[in-house]
Every structure is written in C-alpha cells, then in structure tokens.
C-alpha cells in the first residue's frame, strides 16, 4: 500500500464532527447532511459561536455528532427555540436541523412564523418523505401512491391531500433572504447542497434574515430498499415533485 505519511490530505473529516459512529441506518443521508453542516460551520470559522437546535426525529441525537453547543427542542418547536436563542444572543450563529414531521407537520406554525419574522437563523430541512424514527409512517411530504406504515394502500389524495412543498410555501413570504432545495442522492448534487448550506450559514454571518435549505434525502430502511435503490427512487420519484433550485435569493435577484 502507498505510504500515506508523506502525502497531502485531500479530504478528511472536518473538525466539528466528532470521531464517532452514528446510530443512523446504513446509507442514510443524514450522515452526509451532518457533514455538510459541520464543514460549512468550520469553513466559515463560526464553530465557536454556533448553537444548534436538535429536533425530534432520527436526528434527535445530532448533538452527539457535532461538537457545538446544542439545545434539544420539543417536536416541531426548533424554530421557536432558535428565535429565543438568537434574540437574546444575537452574536451566536443559530441553526435548526429538522425532518419532515418536525418541520412540515407539527411545526408548520413555528417555521412559517420564524421565516415570516425574518429571524436571522439558518434552517436545514431533511425531507425524506416518511417518518423515520417512529418506524415509517406517512409524512406531510409522502408522495401520492407511496406506501408507508400508515398508508398501506398508498397515499390517496382524495383522503388526505397532497405532499407539501415547504420551500415553495416559504418562498411566498417577504422576509426570508434565501430559500433553496437541493438533493443528496448523487455526488454532483451533494456538492451543490454543500454550496447551498454554506451560503445559508454565510447569510447569517452577514446578518441577513432567514435562510432555508431543503435537502431531499433517503430513508432506505423505511422505504424498504437498499441504500443505492433508495437514491434511484429519490431521483425518479421525489425530484419531479420537489424540483431542485433556488426559490428565493436576495443576492441573486430572485
């Protein structure tokens, strides 16, 4: 094998990520999203000022993976906690990291109003069209026809409506400065997602209001697929309904 002692490191784990194994399922894209958030924080040099708000969901233990201060919110309330932290300590860099139950179901009031007030926070929204932690129930973002443990016959629009597009919804508000949807299913998308996340944090460093990054993600276990099959399923089924791109960008004239 090559002797790595005299070689340059081209890619390694960033400082703010703990040297720890996660509890996430094999192939779960939470791991990728966590890395991108940690890298953004480290590259911007704000790890010392960062305060994360962990949600209820698979990523409830996010504080065990990122070495920054954290608060743990009740389900859906992370944007309200973030508001409290940022208002009393405006110098902190505050972010929430939430799943589709947390943000798009129980927490819809909190996210809409934090966005509407233009709270100077960064929100990372993990959309995997299902409830992971509780065992695969329907999420507000579950697709029509998608089978989950509470839609065993497939989601029926007649019965329970359509998946919610949160990025689009929030982009109708005047205050937010940056609203974008990216995906974690392919290397090229992961690179775009990293740029979006970094910008969402950079905006807060610059004192700009509300930045929001929705990340299409996989849940191999509850979708009943292998990790690689899940990436394909995301590409074929989620992207047509949840288009990628910027919905609002104060800098970009959007």
């Amino acid at each position: 094998m090559e002797n790595i002692e005299n070689m340059k490191v081209v890619f390694q784990k960033t400082e703010s990520l703990y040297e720890r194994s996660t509890h996430y399922c094999p192939g779960c894209t939470h791991g990728i999203a966590h890395r991108l958030v940690a890298e953004a924080i480290d590259e911007l040099g704000v790890a010392g000022r960062a305060v994360g708000i962990a949600p209820v969901g698979c990523s409830v233990l996010m504080y065990n993976y990122l070495n920054v201060d954290f608060q743990e919110a009740p389900h859906g309330r992370a944007p309200a906690l973030a508001t409290g932290v940022k208002r009393v300590r405006p110098d902190t860099i505050v972010f929430t990291y939430q799943g589709d139950g947390d943000l798009a179901s129980i927490g819809t009031a909190e996210i809409i109003h934090a966005a509407n007030r233009g709270e100077k926070i960064t929100v990372i929204f993990i959309n995997n069209a299902i409830y992971g932690m509780t065992g695969g129930q329907m999420a507000p973002t579950t697709l029509i026809g998608q089978k989950t443990s509470t839609t065993p016959y497939g989601r029926d629009a007649e019965l329970i409506g359509y998946p919610i597009r949160m990025a689009e919804l929030l982009s109708t508000l005047k205050a937010p400065s940056y609203i974008v949807r990216e995906s974690l299913h392919k290397p090229a998308n992961i690179i775009k997602a990293k740029k979006a996340i970094k910008k969402a944090f950079e905006n807060q460093v610059k004192g700009m209001p509300f930045s929001f990054v929705e990340l299409l993600s996989t849940c191999p276990t509850n979708w009943g697929m292998t990790p690689i099959q899940a990436l394909d399923w995301l590409e074929k089924n989620m992207i047509p309904y949840f288009p990628l791109g910027e919905f609002k960008n104060i800098d970009g004239g959007n």
């Binding site: 094998m1 090559e2 094999p26 791991g31 990790p227």
Partner: protein, 89 residues
C-alpha cells in the same frame, strides 16, 4: 499516487462509495475476498489483513481493492454517510 483509507469498523456497508467511484477501485469485502480467491489482485496488499468479511459491527465493509487506479477525486469520501474515508494525494 493518490489513495484512500477507509475506517473498517465505521463502515456500515451501504455501498455508496463502491457505487459512485468513477474508477471502480473500491469493492465490498465479500466481493473482494471472492475476487482474490479466484483472481490475484493487481498489487500486494500486505498491510490489509482481512479478518473475515464482517467488521466489528457485523457489516460487510468497503475496501480499496485497486489502489493504483485511485485518482484522489474524493467522490467516495463525499458520498460516505459515516465520513469513514480519508483521501490522500
């Protein structure tokens, strides 16, 4: 020559790195042991002692099967949900 190091016991066998490597230098441990039994590998991997195909967690894990083909693009590292891969050039 670029290379990678994969943390064997961190790997959860999701196969994303194997799937996305543009030069196909990575293999899962069971595929690898099967391949070296039938076809000798390109290089001698004396440091790499495969103590069976399963790591401490019980997963099949990813291995660098063809080090000479690695271009150091770090695609594997970027796609790994466990951040188990370090890339060197």
């Amino acid at each position: 020559m670029p290379t990678v190091r994969i943390k064997k016991d961190t790997c959860k066998g999701c196969e994303l790195c194997v799937n996305f490597c543009p030069k196909k230098v990575l293999m899962m441990s069971d595929e690898y042991t099967a391949s070296i039994n039938h076809n000798p590998p390109d290089e001698t991997l004396d440091d790499l002692k495969l103590e069976g195909e399963i790591n401490a967690k019980g997963y099949k894990y990813a291995v660098l099967a063809k080090e000479s083909g690695c271009i150091g693009c770090a695609t594997c590292a970027r796609v790994c949900p466990e951040v188990a891969i370090t890339v060197y050039k």
